[in-house]
Amino acid sequence: MSIAITTQIICFSVLSLVILIGALGVVLLESIVYSAFLLGGVFMSVAGLYLLLNASFVAAAQVLVYVGAVNVLIIFAIMLVNKKEDLKPISDIKSRRIISTSICLTLLSLLIRVDLTNVWSLSSPQNSIGEESTIRIGEHLFSDYLLPFEVASVLLLMAMIGAIVLARRDVMSKDISTGLPVDQELLEKSSEPLLTNKN
């Protein structure tokens, strides 16, 4: 990377601040829609970090897949299940919060301790492939990572078919619970939910 070190440090600090504050907003904010848009900001900043690490191809993939597909999918899901509901209060919510927060803080301190105390065997920057990384990724994908690459395409196909089957309302000719025939139209009809009021 031929950017001056000061510029790199400024970019890194701004990006990591955006990532951490945005992630805190994603988990803490009351409104789920704000969370979803903040998540998009976090994904964009992670793509910025990838650019700082000389990985333009992965940064582009991050923007396309995460911001363009995953985030849009999440916003669609929020739109489809957007119902204001009063959540039932949980009796032992306070002790749960305390336990989970302490677990997370312990995990964080452990990870940071490993990050700081371990001696990483860094390779010298002279060997760095630098801006040629896209070419190298292509070589990897079509030589030693060819089988995982092909398996990934099968995985994506399976995920696509599975998502369609799960999200479609009526895929069977008979309702499982009542045995009545269901109509196969694509219009949403009001039907009795199967599993409500069962606690």
């Binding site: 951490l20 988990v27 990985a55 991050q62 995920a159």
Partner: protein, 107 residues
């Protein structure tokens, strides 16, 4: 012109550790199922930052970490699609996205 000094790898690792822990906290404490899926995405991104940092500092000629990141992004996209489809069919059957009410497997 390659500059010898750069950001230490520990900075990237600490950012990714913090992001991962925020994701774990959100996963444990969210009551909205969509927010749980978002926390999983945060954790996957933390892992990706880690892989990218190591591929750029430790393995900067072969960059196998970047190939791994591509595969993780692929799996994350598949996971998001299937997860949200499961969430939709759950919502259809229970008319809620409250994680506390998904207790069909509770004994």
């Amino acid at each position: 012109m390659m500059s010898l000094e750069s950001i230490p790898i520990q900075a990237f690792l600490i950012v990714s550790s913090a992001l991962f822990c925020i994701g774990v906290w959100g996963l444990l404490n969210s009551r909205n199922a969509v927010r749980v899926l978002m926390s999983i995405e945060l954790m996957l991104n933390a892992v990706n930052i880690n892989l990218m940092a190591f591929s750029s500092y430790v393995d900067n000629n072969l960059i196998q970490g970047q190939v791994f990141t591509i595969f993780v992004i692929t799996v994350a996209a598949a996971e998001a699609a299937v997860g949200l489809a499961i969430l939709l069919s759950l919502y259809r059957n229970r008319v809620t996205v409250d994680m506390e009410s998904f207790n069909l497997l509770k004994w």
